[in-house]
């Protein structure tokens, strides 16, 4: 502005177009700062991958030295996960995780999807405006609280008398509790998927005389199917990674024989990790048993990462579709 003097009214210098240097410097500084914050997330990912796989490698190389990689699949008569005895049978805890997350999906999928269909297709706006917030608030109940419920109420008072399990804690109890835990998540993502189905599809269906139930089953659900699949995958991924319920309600304490029976006590990968860490006060760091924690963590990380990437791809495709 300084050169816009009356004597010389039409001449602009470079300085005028440069703007206020102090403000520009600040702008550049903030840009770098904000970018740094966003890039930090990549740093966290690198750190996670690096620590997990370095420590997992320490475990694997230790295991190769001690008994060979074959020890990861116990071929003996009574295979099981006994880290204190140097027996690391991976199928034991992977099967435990698959059983638990399978049961939790059987519980969460119908409940969550049913709730989502009701909220999205049937509930009047006013009913929805108070039902949905309650569901969302309930989704915030911490998982350790579910662990307590499973251990003290669900197991002894419901599952044990109903299924006649031998112990009040079992893989079944854990699965059902995690199922209830992920139901709000399943409901919320499926509801988003149903909400993304264009109104015109429903109106076309009503217009040719279809009932609401027919419209839901034959038109809305098929149109939203990929979003619902994504909701299922996210729920499974969440169930696989759920730790506190599994550590409290599965019944085994740090070691378990291999089992495929959900009414048995057992171990999931997460429960095995939590209990290894908890018993580690005396043996901090360097024993092979403690190192197995990182190996299990790395396997768990890869499983959930694969599921999340698939779900992410599906959600992205749905977003582009409508």
């Amino acid at each position: 502005m300084s050169s816009l003097t009356p004597a010389n009214p039409l001449v602009l210098t470079i300085g005028d177009l440069q703007g206020n240097l102090r403000r520009l410097r600040k702008e550049r500084f903030m840009h770098v700062l904000l970018f740094g914050s966003a890039a930090l997330s990549i740093g966290i990912s690198i750190l996670i991958v690096f620590t997990l796989f370095r420590e997992a490698w320490v475990f694997l190389s230790g295991l190769i030295e001690q008994s060979g990689l074959g020890a990861l699949i116990d071929g003996g008569a009574r295979p099981g996960w006994y880290p204190r005895d140097g027996r690391f049978d991976l199928p034991t805890i992977v099967l435990g995780t698959i059983i638990v997350s399978g049961i939790s999906v059987v519980v969460a999928a119908p409940l969550g999807l049913g709730a989502a269909i009701y909220l999205s297709e049937y509930a009047k706006p006013r009913t929805r405006s108070w039902l949905k917030p309650i569901l969302e608030v309930l989704a915030g109940v911490p998982s350790v609280v579910f662990g307590f419920f499973a251990l003290r109420v669900l197991g002894p008072d419901l599952i044990q008398p109903l299924f006649g399990t031998r112990t009040p804690t079992s893989l079944l109890v854990t699965g059902v509790a995690i199922g209830i835990l992920v139901t709000p998540l399943m409901a919320s993502i499926s509801e988003d998927a149903l909400g993304a189905v264009p109104r015109a599809l429903r109106e076309a269906s009503f217009g040719i005389g279809a009932r609401r139930s027919t419209t839901v089953v034959k038109v809305v659900l098929p149109a939203a199917v990929s979003g619902i699949v994504a909701a299922l995958i996210v729920s499974v991924s969440r169930a696989i990674g759920e730790t506190m319920v599994a550590a409290l309600a599965s019944g085994a304490l740090g070691q378990a024989p291999r089992t495929v029976n959900p009414t048995d006590t057992g171990l999931t990968m997460t429960a095995a990790m939590a209990q290894l860490a908890q018993g580690s006060d005396q043996v901090v760091g360097d024993t092979l048993a403690f190192q197995s924690l990182f190996f299990v963590g790395a396997v768990l990380f890869l499983m959930t990462l694969a599921l999340n990437l698939v779900a992410d791809r599906i959600v992205e495709r749905v977003r582009n579709q409508y």
């Binding site: 840009h31 914050s37 269909i117």
Partner: protein, 321 residues
């Protein structure tokens, strides 16, 4: 008015009756009842469980009063309390506020206001969505290796500092995603007006975009804090104390932060594994005490959640109207 409404309704009924042949749609109604049952079952299970816990916790507050909130961890159910758990959880919340809030909001603003749609930006976005799905127990490994062992000279090892930083990283993606979403909802006109009068992008963001998006951003930060307060698995790996924890008198705040610690969810985990022998004086078992500890934790976590959700709904409604 009432007459036309009635006429409308009866004509709608007449049309429906002629379409369905006057029969009631029994299967349709059963279908709807089944859906409603799913919703109610999901909600009622949770509500009944919560009610159960509150009922079990009332005698504890009755008999113990504030001594339950000021007592320390131990093995005598007549004396133990949750003061150390509350302290640990407050410290963790402090770390979330100090680390995760500014970094998360800055990253969310960057992705929405500054980033050009390059490959790097898309990779950062994908990376953040994936970080949000990493199981919390894996963050515990990160905390154990990097903050407990790697940075022991700062954190003092298995301390609340290591726990706080770990949980701050854990909730970072939540804050980034909600911030980016609420900044995206700011009308373009607000930015254009700001830049049109010569403000730089940062000035526009600071003075116009962020204040407009503030309710949404605040919602995200509250959800994130609630999540951090309820998270137990990473703390187990970092080495929070589940059993007895005697606090040394005369510690400075730094010494206490670098020392052994516990937090509310860990107290609940520890007491869940305790033997259920009633205390001699009060007759309270660890299960009763645990119900009371859960009530203390839930009161804070659910209140934060409820506030966040009510605020978000208000905000959305206000903007539409």
């Amino acid at each position: 008015m009432a007459l036309t409404l009635n006429a409308q309704r009866s004509s709608a009924e007449a049309v429906r009756a002629s379409l369905t042949g006057g029969k009631r749609d029994v299967r349709g109604m059963l279908f709807m009842a089944a859906l409603l049952a799913c919703l109610l079952l999901a909600m009622l299970t949770l509500i009944v469980l919560l009610w159960d816990v509150v009922a079990q916790a009332i005698p504890v507050f009755d008999k113990r009063g504030t001594s339950f909130l000021t007592g320390e961890l131990g093995s005598n159910p007549d004396k133990v309390g949750v003061s150390q758990g509350i302290w640990g959880s407050l410290m963790i919340a402090l770390f979330v506020v100090v680390i995760a809030f500014p970094v998360g909001i800055a990253a969310g603003v960057y992705l929405q206001e500054y980033a050009k749609p390059t490959k790097l930006t898309r990779f950062i976005q994908l990376n953040i969505r994936n970080l949000a799905g990493v199981p919390s127990v894996v963050y515990g490994i990160l905390g154990l290796i990097v903050f407990v062992q790697g940075l022991e000279w700062v954190t003092g090892g298995r301390s609340v500092i290591a726990a706080g930083i770990t949980l701050a990283l854990l909730v970072l993606p939540i804050i980034i995603i909600t911030t980016a979403e609420s900044v995206r909802a700011v009308p373009a006109g607000i930015r254009e007006a700001g830049m049109g009068v010569g403000a730089t992008r940062w000035e526009t963001t600071r003075d116009h975009v962020l204040p407009y998006a503030a309710p949404g951003v605040l919602t995200g930060t509250m959800l994130a804090t609630a999540r951090a307060l309820g998270e137990a698995a990473p703390l187990l790996l970092i080495g929070a104390i589940t059993g007895r924890l005697a606090s040394a008198p005369g510690q400075s705040i730094v010494e206490r932060m670098q020392g052994k610690f516990t937090a509310m969810p860990i107290v609940i985990y520890g007491w869940s594994n305790e033997v259920n022998k009633p205390g001699k004086k009060t007759g309270l078992t660890f299960e009763d005490l645990n119900a009371a500890a859960i009530v203390v934790l839930l009161a804070v976590v659910l209140l934060l959640n409820a506030l966040a959700i009510v605020m978000r709904n208000r905000f959305e409604k206000g903007r539409q109207g």
